[in-house]
């Protein structure tokens, strides 16, 4: 149980997907403008990521390893992710057209969200058990959402600020992200040993 808790907290804060591993930068820059879309995107990513790591774990251990097909790992994983995103998109379109409108182009872009494929790859290289993989995917998605929300809050505040023209938009977001990364590094002292 402590093992799972450790994975949860370290993925959420200490080794945050966005700020430590640079995963999910494209949506991070694109969707963090408004708090509502950040929440929607965060939820969608968390959902997809949790499912993706779980399903990938099953396929990896039950099929790829058993049949010595490890070299198909990347192709299979990305197919799983693409299908999951397709299903989530259909689900959202049916049940919340408002959210669907808000997320717009970003929904299919979750497929290319490196965070999801990254989560699956890390799970494999760290040899997590099934339960650990589920927790890992869930906390990875939450960590992404957390940073996305914080960034959205900051950016909404910055909208009224007087920013030099060359810095407006992406450069400012990147620099803010850099400062956030520095701040999150402070979490590394949270446990005496991980």
């Amino acid at each position: 149980m402590t093992e799972l808790l450790l994975i949860f907290i370290s993925t959420l804060l200490i080794n945050n997907f966005v700020l430590s591993y640079f995963l999910g930068i494209c949506p991070f820059l694109g969707v963090s403008g408004k708090i509502e879309s950040a929440i929607g995107m965060g939820l969608a990513v968390t959902f997809v990521m949790t499912l993706a790591t779980s399903i990938s774990w099953l396929i990896y251990h039950l099929i790829l390893v058993k049949f010595n097909l490890l070299f198909l790992q990347y192709v299979i994983f990305i197919l799983v992710i693409a299908s999951l995103v397709q299903m989530v998109e259909m689900f959202i379109r049916k049940f919340s057209s408002g959210l669907y409108q808000a997320l717009g182009i970003y929904l299919p872009l979750i497929t290319t969200n490196c965070a999801i494929l990254g989560a699956a790859l890390f799970m494999v290289s760290r040899n997590y058990s099934f339960l650990e993989s589920v927790v890992f995917g869930f906390s990875g998605g939450l960590g992404f959402s957390l940073v996305l929300l914080v960034m959205a809050g900051i950016r909404q505040e910055l909208e009224d600020a007087d920013v030099p023209r060359v810095f407006k938009g992406v450069p400012l977001t990147l620099i803010t992200a850099g400062l956030l990364a520095l701040i999150f590094m402070g979490f590394s002292g949270l446990f005496s040993s991980i």
């Binding site: 080794n15 430590s20 070299f71 198909l72 192709v75 197919l79 290289s125 760290r126 590394s188 005496s192 040993s193 991980i194």
Partner: protein, 185 residues
């Protein structure tokens, strides 16, 4: 219906062609990849145990251990791999220990993605030399001050997590191996 069939057909054919191509490429390269991985291990063992002429891989419970013998076929020690989570990502360690499992000859870091300049220093001689000829009878302990007792390792300033990770990883593996070693003898 015809459209759906076409969709499924194209997707499946593309996947099959790709899978075939990959199988081809992989089969040509698989051997070389394995050689590379073994080479790394061999070089590390050679660095830590220069007298070892023969390296024999044996399984010990769930783990593998390497028996090191000199040119007279006499057993001079063991080598083992240990892996654990560091600050950033996993750390893979190769350790060489004496025949009685009482003293480490030394360790080498095979894989680490720790923060350069901080945790990355676990790969430097200053940290690693502490593990040379280190008694492990009571396990290893990572301390922040100067090492005073046997089995104590001084952590790198500003990289306590990485230093502790190395020590904990070795300790955990030693516990596992020690419990199984009776089966080997």
């Amino acid at each position: 219906m015809k459209e759906t069939l076409r969709i499924i057909g194209v997707l499946t054919s593309v996947c099959l062609v790709c899978a075939f191509l990959l199988a081809l490429v992989y089969s040509r390269a698989a051997e070389k990849i394995e050689v590379n991985q073994n080479q790394r291990l061999k070089t590390a063992i050679a660095n830590l145990a220069p007298g070892a002429e023969k390296v024999e891989e044996v399984s010990l419970g769930d783990s593998t251990i390497f028996k090191l013998s000199d040119k007279k076929q006499k057993l001079i020690g063991y080598a083992f791999l240990a892996q654990g989570q560091g600050y950033q990502d996993k750390i893979a360690i190769l350790a060489v220990i004496d025949v009685s499992f009482g003293k480490l000859s030394g360790i080498e870091i095979l894989e680490s993605s720790e923060t350069p300049g901080l945790g990355g220093k676990i790969q430097e001689t200053d940290f690693l030399k502490q593990f040379k000829q280190l008694p492990v009878n009571n396990g290893l302990e990572c301390v922040k001050t100067e090492a005073q007792a046997d089995g104590q390792i001084k952590a790198i300033t500003g990289a306590t997590v990485s230093s502790r990770a190395v020590v904990d990883t070795i300790n955990k593996k030693l516990v596992v191996l020690k419990s199984e070693i009776k089966n080997l003898k």
